[in-house]
């Protein structure tokens, strides 16, 4: 069982982020860390390989600079190797270009399953994984809360608004993992120290053989999100419960 896990290295969210005033892209020149939402896919992949009794977990990532510290975190959790596509020409790539690059990087090694988070915490387009599946010409199952593999068949509990669907499809396939559905392991200190010597193939775009990549999407302007309107204050004069019930009925919670 060989699993490719797409992971993104993002600016540390404890440091206030900045947008480039010219391109409106997020500035990524500082230290990058592993996107927390990717740690669930890494954890699931490690468990699946473990259950299958063998195989490798390969991390697939893309960054405009050669930053690897976020990748090292996932290697310290137990992933075996990483492929990092690093090329200055990728700065400001749109979702489709990103998907093309990731798909080309995934193809370099044999894989049974591709895993990704449903969306990244910094970009939030949520479109890259299904595009990757389309380019690789494999089925994709999004919003997985549980993933099992039986006799070469992928069985997924796919989260919906009211519960979950049970979905099956043949391998190879791509799964996006919902955040919070597994408990990502902490990297052990031995893992952290071993991660230093795990292989990270750093490639530029030319080495991928994708041909020329052009980003056709442009961020024209950025506006601050509207401030949330303040909520309704219910003062309890003996009938507050009625108002609360009416409110909950109105929004169809009860």
């Amino acid at each position: 069982m060989n699993i490719a896990v797409c992971v993104k290295q993002i600016p540390d969210q404890s440091v206030p982020g900045k947008l480039d005033p010219g391109t409106h892209n997020l500035v990524r020149d500082g230290k990058l860390i592993l996107d927390d939402s990717d740690s669930y896919g890494v954890e699931m992949a490690l468990q699946l390989v473990d259950r299958a009794g063998g195989g490798e977990v390969t991390l697939i990532s893309m960054a405009p600079n050669g930053e690897v510290s976020g990748i090292r975190t996932a290697l310290a959790m137990g992933a075996d190797r990483a492929v990092l596509v690093s090329d200055p020409s990728l700065a400001g790539s749109d979702a489709l270009t990103t998907a093309k690059v990731l798909a080309a990087a995934i193809r370099r090694n044999p894989f049974d399953l591709v895993m990704a988070a449903t969306e990244s915490t910094d970009g939030y387009t949520g479109t890259v994984p299904v595009q990757v599946a389309e380019i690789l010409d494999i089925p994709s199952v999004s919003f997985a809360k549980k993933v099992e593999i039986e006799n070469g068949i992928l069985k997924v509990q796919r989260q919906t608004e009211s519960g979950y669907d049970e979905v099956e499809c043949p391998l190879p396939a791509l799964v996006t993992v919902t955040a919070g559905v597994v408990e990502p392991r902490y990297p052990s200190f031995k893992g952290i120290m071993a991660a230093k010597s795990k292989p990270v193939d750093v490639l530029d775009v030319a080495a991928l053989g994708t041909g020329p990549l052009t980003t056709s999407q442009e961020i024209v302007s950025v506006r601050a999100a509207e401030e949330r309107a303040s909520g309704t204050v219910v003062v309890d004069e003996g009938d507050a419960f009625r108002q609360v019930v009416e409110f909950l009925e109105a929004i169809k919670v009860i």
Partner: protein, 392 residues
């Protein structure tokens, strides 16, 4: 509300002085403490309890126990990484850091440094995973700073050893599977590995503590404890044995205490930004800002000193009096910081809803254990003058 632009550590660009690996280890422990320790520690403290077994297994999985030792299932991390782990643990509670210090720096270190190959193979791997808990018996009811006066005695009886005596203020004593006990013998001070189920060994819990309540503190009683010949640590027969281990534990403390200080400082800054008096957050008043500035500068200086001492340790040139300087400074400043933070939190500061007074009362113990503040003062004085003031 205004946004703070710097954390106390950010202000000093501490991250720039660390390797990727050190930052990674620190961040793992920080997350663990946020998630596992901070939500429950006030309750443990209030009830005077600690789920030490559970925590030891978790800490073992992370690789914290004996992390700075080489081989035998230990991670073999550097001194600064170990210090940073202690700092993050103590940002949770000094009791948690004490659990780790005693296991790794005292009990495991003693076996690692002075044990036979068989003893190391037998004990260290299971202590590294947290399956086996250790404690360390040096201090006695009447001999604290002056361990050379110890009354605990070991006599040869045929091929066996017989141990008699009492040890006091022993962290983890009641839950330990194995105790490293130091005793006077005809051949000098020697260390013994004592499984705690050996007949004649008993541990009594110390009750009514006002400090380190989330930590198990015991008295060990050795009443004619019979041990086989191979229970003795072969590598040392003087006070150099226990003092080597204590130096290792002190090293963890000189980082650790700063964790309690940082957590208090962060808590006091958050509180000051939210607490409105006279229509302004109290953090906006100059008196509060002066407190923040004074505390942060002391915290940062302390951390820079700790890092310097850590790098000396990694180079292998660290001297005992330099560890004294670090412990002296870190604990003294941390205690002062927690007290000042308490004043910022006002009445709220005296409750367990905030970590500040819990840290403060813990640090009262830390000030005294692993070499009292007074002893470290005299060690520094002796280094400067050549005159050992504690021998008058």
């Amino acid at each position: 509300m205004a946004n703070a632009t710097q954390t106390p550590e950010g202000l000093f660009d501490i991250d720039g002085l660390l390797t990727d690996e050190e930052r990674e280890i620190r961040s793992v422990i920080r997350k663990y403490v946020e998630k596992r320790i901070k939500p429950d520690v006030a309750e443990w403290f209030e009830n005077g309890e600690l789920p030490a077994r559970e925590l030891a297994i978790e800490l073992g999985k992370l690789g914290v126990l004996g992390m700075h030792l080489e081989g035998y299932g230990c991670a073999g991390a550097g001194a600064v990484a170990y210090g940073l782990a202690c700092l993050e643990l103590e940002a949770g509670d000094s009791g948690i850091r004490s659990l780790v210090s005693v296991q790794g720096s005292l009990a495991m270190k003693a076996i690692h440094a002075f044990g036979s190959e068989e003893q190391k193979q037998q004990w260290l791997p299971k202590m590294a995973t947290g399956e086996v808990l250790g404690c360390f018996g040096l201090t006695e009811p009447d001999f604290g700073s002056n361990p050379a006066g110890m009354r605990t005695r070991a006599k040869r009886d045929g091929k066996d050893w017989l141990l008699d005596g009492t040890k006091m203020w022993i962290t983890n004593g009641n839950i330990a599977d194995v105790a490293v006990v130091w005793a006077r013998t005809d051949e000098g001070i020697r260390g013994f590995i004592v499984p705690t189920d050996t007949p004649g060994f008993s541990a009594n819990l110390v009750h009514r503590k006002l400090s380190l309540r989330a930590s198990i503190t015991s008295e060990l009683v050795l009443d004619n404890v019979r041990l086989p010949e191979d229970a003795v640590l072969p590598g040392v027969s003087s006070l150099r044995g226990p003092l080597t281990c204590l130096n290792e534990a002190r090293f963890g403390i000189l980082f650790g205490a700063l964790g309690a200080a940082r957590d208090s400082l962060e808590s006091a800054i958050r509180y000051g930004m939210e607490r409105i008096q006279f229509d302004h957050p109290i953090a906006a008043y100059q008196l509060t800002q002066k407190k923040y500035a004074d505390m942060t500068v002391e915290f940062g200086k302390g951390l820079l000193l700790a890092l310097h001492i850590g790098r000396l340790k990694e180079k292998g040139t660290l001297r005992a009096e330099q560890v004294s300087i670090g412990k002296f400074n870190s604990v003294k400043q941390a205690l002062a910081i927690t007290r000042e933070c308490r004043s910022i939190l006002g009445a709220n500061g005296i409750t367990l809803e905030y970590p500040v007074m819990r840290h403060m009362s813990n640090l009262e113990s830390v000030y005294t254990y692993e070499g009292t503040h007074e002893m470290h003062t005299l060690v520094i004085g002796e280094a400067l003058t050549g005159l050992p003031a504690y021998r008058i």
